[in-house]
């Protein structure tokens, strides 16, 4: 404890003449006589084990509080700026959860992720150009529909004159309950519109529109499962997503070939791109391989991995769109 150390102002041996008209009480300092040695020890700069235990407990509580604070801040970040990756502290606090999640079964609560329900359907509006259908988002939509009650609607904006029928039905058949919007947890509204870059609008008050398919995909994936607990693994997922969108989808044929080789060697080491678990990296890379028409000429591991992706059952819509 940070206190000044002061020498005793008087000794024990002072003799005082006590009047006899008063009760005699035993010496209170002398009562602690048995602990006198430890008192001395404290004054010599040594620490009482009981105090240090208390100190340790306080530190532990504070640490936990900081962790909790960081976790909450991280969550707030995912809501307000979904582009920001989760902090390490957040992932560590989620570690118990993510270890439980097998194939995205982790229980993520929409209230904590997207803010409290105010009575309106939480509607994710995605403006996409029909010339470049966002395949990853369709896969993520399929995954989301499995997890939540999702009201999916497709609209055509007046800036687009006509849209092929397969794009109009790309979110599958209409939900039989679609007449009652309040029965749904999440809205997924896809608007085919003449936009230069894909954009997503969620809460017009608290959030600016998010641009780019990769950013939107990250946002949607966080509704399904937290990012990997390990920062290295999280970075790995991110780098694969970037590789997919920058080098596979937009890159030259040389770049594409290089990415396919890298995919092949990564998939030789583990079943999925980011290790033992299926992640956004797999969704992004699968869709971009498919889009770049490199699927047939892909190396063996990539072929096998694509098969396993397809076996998950969420990729069928993308194939139909490209046909």
């Amino acid at each position: 404890m940070p206190m000044y150390q002061v020498k005793p102002t008087c000794g024990d041996d002072i003799k005082i003449d006590l009047p006899t008209c008063m009760y005699k009480l035993p010496h209170i300092h002398a009562q602690q006589g048995d602990s006198r040695s430890s008192e001395h020890a404290l004054q010599n700069g040594e620490v009482d084990p009981a105090v240090s235990a208390l100190e340790a407990r306080q530190d532990e509580i504070l640490r936990k509080l900081y962790e909790l604070k960081a976790a909450v801040e991280g969550l707030a970040k995912t809501v307000t700026t979904p582009d920001a990756d989760l902090d390490v502290t957040v992932s560590s606090s989620f570690s118990s959860q993510s270890s439980r999640s097998i194939m995205l079964e982790g229980s993520t609560d929409l209230d904590t992720l997207l803010g409290e329900d105010l009575g309106a359907l939480r509607d994710i509006v995605i403006n996409a150009n029909p010339a470049r259908p966002p395949l990853t988002l369709l896969v993520l939509h399929s995954l989301l529909s499995q997890r939540y009650r999702v009201l999916s609607t497709v609209h055509v904006h007046s800036s687009v004159s006509s849209v092929p029928p397969q794009l109009q039905s790309c979110l599958g058949p209409r939900h039989p309950d679609s007449y009652a919007r309040h029965l749904f947890q999440l809205g997924f509204t896809l608007i085919w519109k003449d936009v230069p870059k894909l954009e997503m609008k969620f809460s017009v008050h608290n959030m600016c529109p998010i641009e780019g398919e990769a950013s939107v995909a990250r946002f949607l994936f966080k509704l399904l499962a937290p990012y990997p607990s390990d920062p290295a693994a999280a970075t790995l997922v991110d780098s694969w997503v970037d590789t997919a969108f920058f080098q596979l989808a937009e890159g030259s044929s040389k770049e594409r070939a290089a990415v396919l080789r890298a995919l092949n060697s990564a998939l030789g080491r583990s079943p999925w791109l980011s290790g033992p678990e299926f992640s956004l990296a797999d969704v992004a890379c699968y869709c971009c391989v498919l889009q770049s028409c490199a699927a047939s000429s892909a190396p063996a591991n990539v072929q096998r991995w694509m098969k396993s992706c397809e076996n998950l059952g969420h990729f069928s819509s993308t194939k139909q769109l490209l046909q």
Binding site: L118, G119, A120, T153, H155, H157, S158, H182, K201, V204
Partner: protein, 543 residues
Amino acid sequence: MLCSLLDAKSTTAFPIRSQDGATEEQQAQSKKALKKQQKEAEKAARKAEKQAMAASEQQGADEDDFAKERYGVSAMVQSQQKLDRVLVRVQDLSPEKADQLIWLRARIHTSRAKGKQCFLVLRQQQFNVQALVAVGDRASKQMVKFAANITKESIVDVEAVVRKVEQKIESCSQQDVELHIERIFVISQAEARLPLQLEDAVRPDGEGEEEGRATVNQDTRLDNRVIDLRTTTSQAIFRLQSGVCQLFRDTLTKKGFVEIQTPKIISAASEGGANVFTVSYFKTSAYLAQSPQLYKQMCICADFDKVFCVGPVFRAEDSNTHRHLTEFVGLDIEMTFNYHYHEVIESITDTMVQIFKGLRDNFQTEIQTVSKQFPSEPFKFLEPTLRLEYTEGVAMLREAGVEMGDEDDLSTPNEKLLGRLVKEKYDTDFYVLDKYPLAVRPFYTMPDPNNPKYSNSYDMFMRGEEILSGAQRVHDPELLTQRAVHHQIDLEKIKSYIDSFRFGAPPHGGGGIGLERVCMLYLGLHNVRQTSMFPRDPKRLTP
């Protein structure tokens, strides 16, 4: 030379000025300059002489006009003879017609005389073309003078040669050609003093104030509607309005709807009883129909399945706002459905979307013309139309800081705000708000099966303003009686209405749109009087 010039009484100042200049400057100038000056003076003198000759010629020519037969005010057309003359439309004048001699009937839009030439702009509806009368072997000086003196807005027949022009004529709709007039006859003369100038009437708001030019206020326009309607903007607005009607009819007919006509003189007030015009009807009184609602529903009960009607609707509301009229054109729809009233919503919204698409694809020139005077963002919509629920709308408003109860009706400012919020998120100017609270809807509205506080009713909005209000109607006489009693409506007065459901009535729903309001909001105008040809409001009964 100078003497002869003065004798000829020419008023041109040119030679005199050069002389003055010469005397003034002679002192200070070198020999060379002097020579030059002399030469110039000579040149000017020669020119003046020519002009003098022309002037004297003109005097002589007053008696001798070689082009006498080529212009004049023609006798009033009383169908004296049937000419086989082909008149070309202004909009068809294109470089392909270059060097052809054509006949054309148009109004004088503007005229500008300049010496031996007179420039006219000839207008036909929203199209116009530049024309030129110049002294030459076809036109005499008198003819040019005559052309220059024709009053604006007069109707003329001209014979002219179409000529390509080097530079585009920016001020006309036909930019690549002009007309060289060879004959010009006035068919109908306009009075010299116009109550308003067309160019003032099409000037964009605000622009006139900056440049100190006139703009025409709404009342002057409406008082002189005939001239106001001639402006390109008005032409475009009412052509577009006709398009809305046409598209409405076409789309619904294609969907299997039947157009019906309903009476406008009725015995009982249909909605509530307030806001109706009473008219004397022989020994008793009658009302003007507020909506064809009851008759539409009776047609449904009479097995017409799906009906629509286009006709006038009267509202005795004493409100002088930008969007209220006492008489307007209602486009009404009523249809049966099988199991859910959303079938009706889908039919109506699809009709609206077809109208919007038709306008977007076929009326682009009109939309552009109007937006030149009244700039606005192009109308945006989604297909299929966005449907939100009332509770969602309320939640969105609350999120934006509006305080309102769950069952409160939307106030006009809140409607507008909600429109902005929806536009921001979905980028659409047209959407449906579904499931209104039962308390704010008329008695014949079907209550929601799951929540008695809400109802199967909906409003549709364009640019944040309500254009259609509709619902599933109660088709069961018992429930209808119950609802009427709840609303404290005299059952005797609506007996025939309730009775019409006693012999089996299919579930049905519908709604009505105001044509003027739809046009106003589609074009982003700010006053419904602009889209009503001869508007009726509490303060205006004429023209």
